[in-house]
């Protein structure tokens, strides 16, 4: 009798398998992804109709509609809402014991984390394309469509990865779906305390100060420059660099959390 040893799949193949499982898990549960598509669109539609006249205020950026002005906010809102699904998924796996079985398998630790993040990023890209398609039908305009779409997709993917990594980190630390959802208001607050919905320079006061030190503002302003003015390398680089930096920080946190969970 001979025992055939199956070759161990590469780390990339393992990560792809986990990413596929993560994406399928989200797709099978519409309550996890439908709000991340519908809610930002609804909020965009309401705010665009409510605040369109504010474009006449002195100092408001030259833009064809408030809908276009809100484009970065809509994308970021969707990505923030959607990417927390990665953390929820991880927490569910921990709660039902599947995560422990994954850890006991000969799977690479990098794939364990990387797979989920790739899944998050893939969903982020789908969201960006969806929002751009829908909003362009209603009048949103990119000055340089090619550059605009490219930068928005890259930033959407990076941010989805960052938020996904952060929520997975919380899941690994706490092992609780409730705790992951409990952290959601932090992302929400960060988005509202930024330039996403209105120019802070017009608001003035404490809000302008808070928004100016909020990294979300740096991303939004970069995206907005690319949307309104076309290919602005400095703005694009700023949006991408800040998103990537947040991603690196979140992945570092998630790696530490994974190590801590495996130790226990």
């Amino acid at each position: 009798m001979t025992v055939t040893a199956h070759p161990r799949p590469s780390a990339v193949a393992q990560a792809v398998a986990i990413a596929g499982r993560s994406v399928r898990g989200v797709l099978r549960q519409p309550p996890q992804w439908v709000p991340s598509l519908v809610f930002p669109l609804f909020f965009n539609a309401v705010s665009a109709a409510a605040f369109d006249r504010t474009r006449a205020l002195p100092g408001f950026p030259e833009v064809n509609s408030f809908l276009t002005f809100l484009l970065p906010a809509t994308i970021l809102q969707g990505v923030l809402l959607g990417a927390t699904a990665a953390g929820n998924d991880a927490a569910v796996d921990i709660e039902n014991g599947f995560f422990d079985r994954l850890v006991l398998s000969p799977m690479s630790r990098v794939s364990l984390l990387g797979g989920r993040l790739v899944g998050s990023m893939a969903l982020g890209v789908v969201q960006v394309v969806f929002f751009l398609s829908v909003l362009s039908v209603f009048g949103a305009r990119l000055e340089n469509p090619l550059a605009g779409v490219l930068v928005l997709v890259v930033v959407g993917a990076l941010l989805a990865g960052a938020v996904g990594a952060f929520s997975v980190s919380i899941a690994l630390r706490t092992g609780s779906v409730e705790a992951v959802n409990g952290f959601f208001p932090i992302f929400f607050a960060a988005l509202f305390m930024s330039s996403a919905f209105f120019p802070p320079s017009l608001s003035g006061g404490w809000f302008e100060t808070v928004a100016s030190i909020n990294p979300i503002t740096w991303i939004v302003d970069g995206l907005r420059d690319v949307i309104i003015e076309g290919w602005v390398p400095g703005a694009a680089a700023r949006a991408i660099a800040v998103s990537a930096a947040l991603g690196v920080l979140a992945i570092f946190m998630a790696t530490r959390s994974l190590a801590a969970r495996i130790r226990t």
């Binding site: 309550p31 309401v46 109709a49 409510a50 919905f197 404490w206 809000f207």
Partner: protein, 268 residues
Amino acid sequence: MTAAVEGLGATHEPKVLASAGVVAWRGVLRTTRFPAIIVQSIFFPAFFLLVYTGLYRAVTELPNFPTDRAANWYLPFMMMQGAAFSGVGAGFATAVDIDNGFFDRLLLVPGRRISILLGTLGFALVRAVTVAFLVMILGLGLGARFTDAPLGLPLLFLGVASMSLIASCYSLGLIYRVKDQRVAPMFQVGIFVALFVSTAQVPLDLATGWLHDAARFNPVTNILRLGRQAFLTGGVTWTDTWGGLVAVVATTAVAGMWAYTGLRKYID
């Protein structure tokens, strides 16, 4: 034997209001045992009030904006939003009761079933008024100033109470019919849409496109107009009051019927 049973009070059906009071008191006790519930109810309106007064300060510079303080415009809306989500909380609590079987045991208790509905509404009302009061204190701290407190304040709290009742009845009517906790997100979605497709963010004259048309026919617009008079230039006027009173009565009655018929369906 009959005397003995009578002695136990078996032939006396408890009064509706007394039973409703017990149900409401249970809700209050549940809130005191889980303070996170009330903190959650306050967090969102308080946070949004803070953000909106900072973020949209410049909006008041638009021509014909009825106040020069963003806090004056947004405070009544945030109070009503807090009240509405407190009402939704009553739906959540009932969904949990239905899920764990407690609601069915409640139906077996002698007495009229409407007391369960009235008690739940009573509890939601207490919670809504508490939340609205706390948000109002925050709003005054953020710069909101009354322009007509003696007449406006009662109308504002009438609006708060009606928003709480409407939201409670809407979510209760839904959960009584569907009998499944998974419908709970629909409570928030329905209320969120009703609140925001109104003059929540800007006055009707400044809203454009579809929002302007939809907000005109949304009763929430009239209830907001009623409540906002306490803080707007010109104070309370009959023109801005009567529409709000009609909206309060009509919408509360319709929502009440939705909840009551839902309860009847559940029992049947």
